[in-house]
């Protein structure tokens, strides 16, 4: 396809999308509140700007390396912002501030769990990952092992994680947009899917990264404004804010509540969050977008700073919502309150941050935060889809099917096709799961990432005796244990399937499934006496030197 043709198709698709959006917007405006016009205008500005970036990025995306890693030329600061953007999804912005709003201190416990994986990633994973890999984490896992089985397993782990995550994001997106913009659920889901396909297929990692950076900046600015507005109300005294909040909701919101009830659950949740983060394919992929290990380290440093700051903001925002939104007649769900009592807010507790934005900044700022929430979903699904598409094109197509004999243009084409397919799957799944209880989905994604992806990746870097047989059996064992324990655990067995009691009593399976994976990998590796296993163990030394020094590692592409 020539560049001109591609550009023409691109412009055509942009206009098409805007037309779909415009018609949906008018329809929505009639049925829902008029004040959402400012949200729609601001969202259109965001979409226009990001499509402009995509157009710019498309012209610079000439090879598979550009497509997967933005040519390896992203700086540590930019990548830190993009990683933070991947992590600060709409679910964590609205979900954690909603959790703080409902349960106070428990929201902080939850966000700390999400943060502490980052230092571990820096100390253990980031550098060898950058030095050994090219496009996907399977590059590292299969560095000295047999390509076919390891790539298939790693790609399966990646695609499963990505699709589960996509379902959660799409369903959240549909509901949020329905509520904020007054669009139909299906229109909202389709819109997210189509825009995401545009960003990724045309702009690759370069566009995806910049969309993520811009969104992270907007989200951090908006959240900072809200937190400062809340604190200014109390002369920047936390004591005064907490005193007022406890007067409204009781002193329990200052104490740990029911989030972690017993030590097994506490440890299991901690393991899932920590190792799960280090096994998320869309996060790991970001380390290949920087030029070297130095920039990779800087990216984690900045990302940890941004994410930590963001969680402190969501904590203040949650408390701000308690004092300004809770029991405020303007945001009260009158119909629901009449039946159930307890002063529920419109749209449920996940809307606490959105209502607070209105309370502190009026219609205009509500529009801004709504547009940012939508932008957040778009940016996160784009990153996810790119990671899933890379697993299909780089691991399955180029490395397994074609045994590495494939030219870069062909591989890029396959990943674009994979992106379109994943986008369509995401739209269909998003619509299918509309009415389902999807609380288990993100937990399952983290459990798979922690139990299948992480142990193989970690041991391939640090354990000489790892063999292909060990990785395949142990990794599969971890994966199967995680999936089965989630199914027979409380979230699926009781809440979803309606059984009276769970067969497996804990909500988080990671403690058991991660252990199963490590023990399985250990056992099937040390009992592997094949000639192949011996060669794999002998290859460890050269791999370790490269992982430590970066000698022979992928550099940035020359532009």
């Amino acid at each position: 396809m020539s560049m001109m043709q591609m550009n023409r198709i691109f412009l055509f698709l942009i206009l098409g999308t805007l037309a779909v959006f415009a018609s949906g917007a008018i329809e929505g405006e009639v049925t829902k509140q008029a004040l959402n016009m400012s949200a729609i205008v601001m969202f259109l500005i965001f979409v226009g700007a990001t499509l402009g970036i995509t157009y710019w990025a498309a012209k610079r995306t000439k090879s598979a390396k550009d497509f997967y890693t933005a040519g390896g030329g992203i700086t540590g600061f930019q990548n830190g912002m993009a990683i933070a953007g991947d992590y600060m999804s709409a679910a964590s912005f609205l979900g954690i501030s909603g959790l703080v709003y409902m349960q106070g201190y428990d929201g902080l416990i939850y966000s700390i769990g999400f943060l502490v994986g980052w230092p571990i990633i820096l100390f253990m994973i980031a550098e060898p990952l950058r030095n050994l890999g090219k496009y996907t984490f399977a590059d590292v896992a299969s560095y000295r092992l047999r390509q076919t089985p390891i790539r298939i397993l790693a790609a399966f782990g990646s695609i499963a994680t990505v699709i589960l995550y996509l379902i959660a994001q799409m369903v959240g997106a549909g509901k949020l947009i329905q509520l904020l913009f007054g669009l139909d659920y299906e229109v909202a889901v389709a819109l997210v899917g189509v825009l995401m396909i545009l960003y990724v297929t045309f702009g690759g990692m370069l566009a995806t990264t910049w969309v993520q950076i811009i969104k992270a900046f907007l989200l951090l600015s908006g959240a900072s404004f809200m937190a400062v507005a809340v604190m200014a109300h109390y002369d920047f005294s936390f004591g005064a804010l907490f005193t007022h909040a406890t007067q409204l909701k009781g002193v329990e919101i200052m104490n740990p509540g029911g989030l972690v009830s017993d030590p097994i659950s506490a440890i299991s949740l901690a393991i899932a969050l920590m190792f799960g983060t280090a096994g998320l394919p869309h996060i790991l992929m970001r380390f290949f977008t920087v030029s070297d290990a130095k920039e990779a380290r800087k990216s984690v440093f900045y990302a940890t700073g941004f994410i930590g700051y963001f969680y402190i903001l969501t904590f203040i925002i949650g408390f701000g919502a308690i004092v300004m939104v809770f029991q405020n007649p303007q945001y009260l769900d009158v119909a629901k309150d009449a039946i159930e009592g307890g002063s529920p807010i419109l749209g449920g507790s996940n809307m606490a941050a959105i209502h607070l934005s209105h309370a502190v900044g009026g219609d205009f700022f509500l529009g801004f935060i709504s547009a940012v929430a939508f932008a957040t979903i778009l940016a996160v699904v784009s990153g996810l889809t790119l990671a899933g598409a890379s697993a299909i094109s780089h691991d399955l197509y180029a490395s397994v099917l074609k045994r590495g004999n494939v030219d870069s243009m062909k591989e890029m084409q396959v990943s674009k096709i994979a992106t379109v397919i994943l986008g369509i799957v995401a739209i269909i799944m998003g619509i299918m799961f509309e009415k389902q209880n999807i609380a288990f989905v993100v937990g399952l994604a983290f459990a798979i990432a922690a139990s299948a992806n992480f142990p193989i990746l970690f041991l391939s870097m640090y354990w000489r005796k790892l063999t292909t047989r060990g990785a395949v059996w142990g990794g599969s064992l971890g994966l199967a244990t995680a999936v089965i324990l989630v199914i027979i655990g409380p979230t699926v067995w009781v809440d979803l399937l309606g059984n009276a009691e769970a067969i497996f009593p804990y909500k988080y399976p990671a403690l058991f499934s991660v252990t199963a994976a490590f023990v399985g990998i250990w056992f099937f590796s040390i009992t592997d006496t094949s000639h192949n296993a011996q060669l794999e163990q002998e290859a460890y030394e050269a791999q370790y030197i490269r992982s430590q020094t970066g000698i022979g590692a992928e550099g940035a592409s020359e532009h």
Binding site: I112, G239, T246, P256, A266, I545, T549, I551
Partner: protein, 104 residues
């Protein structure tokens, strides 16, 4: 990487110094993070009321709030400490190793 080069780097004293220093540094920092986090989360699991204790008699703010914020800041500071040392001292050593290969 061929066998000859592997042996050469392996026997390079700078390489041995880099690996031993960095491994022990990463392990110490990892241990510090794990100890702090698991102390925090297990305190909640075994004795939830402890973090709920008010800071002072006339305050509603619980001990858990500054402790939680401190864990977040601790995690960030650790990444800073590692990045400064790795991007300085360790990368200098690493460059010496890389230059020693180029020389021949």
């Amino acid at each position: 990487m061929n066998k000859e080069l592997v042996d050469k780097i392996k026997n390079n004293p700078d390489y041995q110094e880099l690996v031993s220093k960095r491994s022990s540094f990463s392990l110490k920092l990892t241990a510090a993070m794990l100890v702090v986090y698991f102390t925090f989360i297990l305190t909640i699991a075994f004795d939830p009321s402890f973090l709920g204790t008010p800071l002072s008699a006339d305050s509603v703010t619980s001990i858990g709030i500054p402790v939680g914020i401190a864990v977040i800041i601790f995690a960030f500071v650790l990444t800073g400490i590692y990045t400064v040392r790795a991007n300085g001292e360790f990368d200098d050593l690493n460059n010496k190793i890389k230059n020693s290969i180029k020389e021949d």
